[in-house]
Symmetry: C2
Subunit: 343 residues, 2 copies
């Protein structure tokens, strides 16, 4: 069962470079000494980097990859380099059963495309989805999916995303029965598109699922902590996620500008700094790191490109947790139950 | 030409009640003494309220409406009461040519439905759109449309929204050649749906339009002030607008929580209060009030339901500005030019 605790790392993927990746892996290993790693990338550079992390040396295998996927590379182009790039080889480690999950901080589109081609969708799942954790006012983060894997979706896709998102929330957020809602432009039954209303009907019939279907949710309630999983098509999810990120940065920028507007405000800022640091900490993407491709025959975690070592550690730990909970099996089981009853 | 400066006001629509509406109207009149009003609602109550605003009495005509559209009333139901409700009668004032614009702070869905039925879309426009002003880091607000009038749109709809939004930005934001972008999940040409790519192609061919087509914009750039008009279908726009509102409130809530977390932070908060007030002011919906239905044979402005008297004054002034600039004619002209050249 060692392969279950072995994680393949695309060591070349992040904006911060190899040193940040290795430091993140070393942190994760310190927290979970059972973990093993396959570090994929420039072998000489990785071996040199490992000298700073003696705790990793025995726990890691290094696999050389001569190339790296560029951050602006088109997915269609990256796929052709699956056998030579650190990203492609890390995913192949999962496909070959050498590792139980792959983690990369590289190009999201390329990672999605490569993972889909190499690992294929699970039996019974029509389309994989990208799920991420968003900060909320509640006790845990909120899971949101799909965030861009599928520009257009049908009702069955959305229903499957709900089931997968709930399984993910049970693992990532330690919830027993996550509250799941469909993102819509109103909460009344007749709101939205036919596709969304149809998905809602399918989910209403799933009372035996390990989730609580909470109906529709509007964009202004996503971060209130009232539901645990927000489901939508990849176009809407990408717009909502990026609008939320942009607005949080916008408000922070306005706040900075305001604090700089007078000497009095500057002084107040210095005094209340612990408060603004608390805010920054709550919103720091590193503390909500790790988006996951759900629905593939194998686990693939996407770290923020700009993650620091703490962020990358979080992404690795998330991967380890999903391996431990056997997330793939959970999803297959939930979906099987749902469809057996529906039939 | 007196009808051009006369605005019909649904005096019963706002959450703040008649007193707030009349105070807002009185403020607007003080700023623009040429304005006249048709105040629609409970006649006795309006006449009693006018006693507090002697500057309005001579400038206002009161039209009695026995009923009010409820805030949770279904649009299909409200339409049937168009002849007896303050909202329906205010719109009818525009239809009959007694007023040049109608302003309401009531139920948005009902207002859209009633306005569409009563005023009909302009020749050449397939669908009207709801446009609003969003705060930004730029020198002016950003116009965003559609925000919910059309759940699904085709490429021609989006192209027309771009033309209407640009005409609106020229009036509302005093811009000569607004920068217009389509909201999408990436900025590369191949991103998004066929509909969005097709709309982009149509807009690229419109170099003679009084707008600068800036291609695609992602959700995280909406509030950066890099473009003046953001165009999308009503589903996406509603999700983006509400997600932005919700995130701004979320960050403000976190900030409040953080400021309360220690005595030191509380003191810092008190000292830097001018800064946080500046922030609040920048984000206050009252300072960005007035959504507009574009593309109808008549101007209809939707005020936030919770607007205070300053907010309502802003909505009235926006209506007056659009009347003055003859926004409807501008839109017809721009669209006519565009289609003549395209043909």
């Amino acid at each position: 069962m060692t392969s279950k605790a072995r994680i393949a790392v695309d060591a070349m993927g992040g904006d911060g470079g190899l040193a940040v990746m290795l430091a993140g892996v070393a942190h994760a290993r310190r927290r979970a000494p059972g973990l093993e790693f396959v570090l994929v990338g420039d072998e000489a550079a990785i071996r040199a980097g490992l000298e700073n992390h003696p705790n990793l040396t025995a726990a890691s295998q290094v696999v050389h990859a001569p190339e790296v996927v560029a951050s602006d590379e088109k997915p269609s182009q990256a796929i052709r380099r699956a056998r030579t790039t650190s990203m492609g080889i890390a995913i192949d480690q999962v496909k070959q059963g050498h590792a139980a999950a792959a983690v990369s901080a590289g190009n999201t589109g390329a990672l999605m495309a490569m993972a889909k081609v190499a690992l294929r969708t699970m039996p019974g799942i029509d389309r994989p989805a990208l799920a991420a954790l968003m900060p909320s006012l509640g006790e845990t983060d909120t899971v949101m999916l799909d965030l861009g894997a599928n520009t257009e979706c049908d009702a069955r896709n959305l229903m499957q995303f709900a089931v997968m998102g709930a399984a993910y929330a049970r693992t990532a957020l330690d919830l027993e029965r996550p509250r799941v809602a469909l993102l819509n432009i109103g909460t009344e039954d007749q709101k939205g598109t036919d596709i969304i209303r149809d998905a809602a009907n399918q989910l209403r019939s799933g009372a035996h699922l390990p989730l609580e279907f909470a109906g529709f949710i509007e964009g202004d309630r996503i971060s209130r902590g009232e539901v645990d999983v927000v489901v939508c098509d990849g176009f809407t999810g990408n717009i909502a996620l990026k609008t939320a990120e942009g607005t949080a940065r916008f408000v922070a920028d306005l706040l900075k500008r305001a604090f700089r507007s007078s000497i009095r405000s500057k002084i107040g800022f210095l005094i209340s700094r612990p408060a603004t640091e608390l805010l920054r900490d709550h919103l720091d993407p590193n503390n909500h790191n790790g988006a996951v491709f759900l629905g593939l025959n194998g686990l693939v975690v996407k770290s923020h490109g700009g993650a620091n070592e703490i962020g990358f550690e979080n992404a690795i730990q998330l991967a380890a947790k999903m391996v431990r909970d056997d997330l793939g099996r959970r999803i297959a089981q939930d979906l099987g139950n749902f469809e057996a009853r529906a039939a």
